[in-house]
Symmetry: C2
Subunit: 245 residues, 2 copies
Amino acid sequence: MRNFKIILQYEGTRYQGWQKQESTQNTIQGKLERLLTRLAGAPVEIQASGRTDAGVHAYGQTANFHMDTKLSPQELMERINEYLPEDIGVIAIEEVPERFHSRLNAKGKTYRYRVLNSSVPHIFDRRYVYVCPEKLDVDAMKQAAARLCGTHDFKAFTSAKRSRKSTVRSLDSIDIERTGDEIWFTFSGNGFLFHMVRILMGTLLEVGSGKRRAEEMTALLENGKREEAGPLVPACGLALMEVRY
Amino acid sequence: MRNFKIILQYEGTRYQGWQKQESTQNTIQGKLERLLTRLAGAPVEIQASGRTDAGVHAYGQTANFHMDTKLSPQELMERINEYLPEDIGVIAIEEVPERFHSRLNAKGKTYRYRVLNSSVPHIFDRRYVYVCPEKLDVDAMKQAAARLCGTHDFKAFTSAKRSRKSTVRSLDSIDIERTGDEIWFTFSGNGFLFHMVRILMGTLLEVGSGKRRAEEMTALLENGKREEAGPLVPACGLALMEVRY
């Protein structure tokens, strides 16, 4: 069987996230598997680098699937794009060794969260930003971000139920940059827990608006209490930018 | 009565264009007038710098309306944005002298047409580009564009029925720029005829793909025959960027 690695873009607005579910046909994995199964004439499973939640976008989600086909990778990509809905697209494809696995081989990921820091609407990007018109102190948020980076137990920053799985992750960087009336928060790390970026964002925005101090991050990491971290911000501002191998 | 000048952004996809019509409620002017009339408690008419066709977008449409209100311009803008649908927004407002008229006082306009020159989809900008994956010769299109600029009778480049109105316009510049896998065509002039930018675009794309030569532009301007110019390209790639006063 041939193994194909694809890079996917999708607008998450209409979907119940990446992962297929019994209860709905409306997931990105579900759409892709039904299409690939139809093209192959036999069941095809597709594996992504990780789930994205309902409403989260992707500029560079990576996935792989095994399939018997005589098509070249380029032909296969064109065929897939022909049948995909307009808010999902394959932007790159390559044939990879049998053993390549998009989740197990992933070394790191980058997410971006876009905040529209203005009450003036952005019509063309309205589905890709979170509107927060409050005055935000970028320097204070950068100080908090510096304290969050590194290898820590991020238990306070996940909605995952307690389990025996490790909640230690390495957060390499959080870049915070004002571009026009938006603020872009770019998170790079070796892996992210369920809701981790959105809870980190909720916490950083509380620092930005003066509701809490940058210094509190250290205690939050230490005590690991979800209820003491900030709120979960909306999915619409979040996008998976890149997966590194 | 106070006179307000507003700058509007809208995504044209869902609308039957700017101008209100008896047959549909679904125009941008219609939406705005119903909202302003409700806010004022008396009929308000709104005048734009010019119509945009069904499906055409605006980054900087300018309009004005007369209204009695005690609100400051900023308050009025917030109130309007609160009630507008999410694909229309006011991005600037100012109070102007009674005599200001957004159409009659307009000195020039800039339109941009975006061509996605690739078969790889752009998921996030899919509603704002025209997909044309054919190989395009940008230099040949620039040569054709140079021949189209200046003060000419653009009769061959409009869908308007013959009338006694002048079809002479001054086209100041057509900038053609490749940015990534898109080509942006930026048209500036003192005024544009019905469908003019989209027929100019259809003609330029025929030059770009080698179907006609840049030199033919001169004859097209001289003979004024619509049927000899290129096709009308889709509205989705077009946006009114700016109106100058």
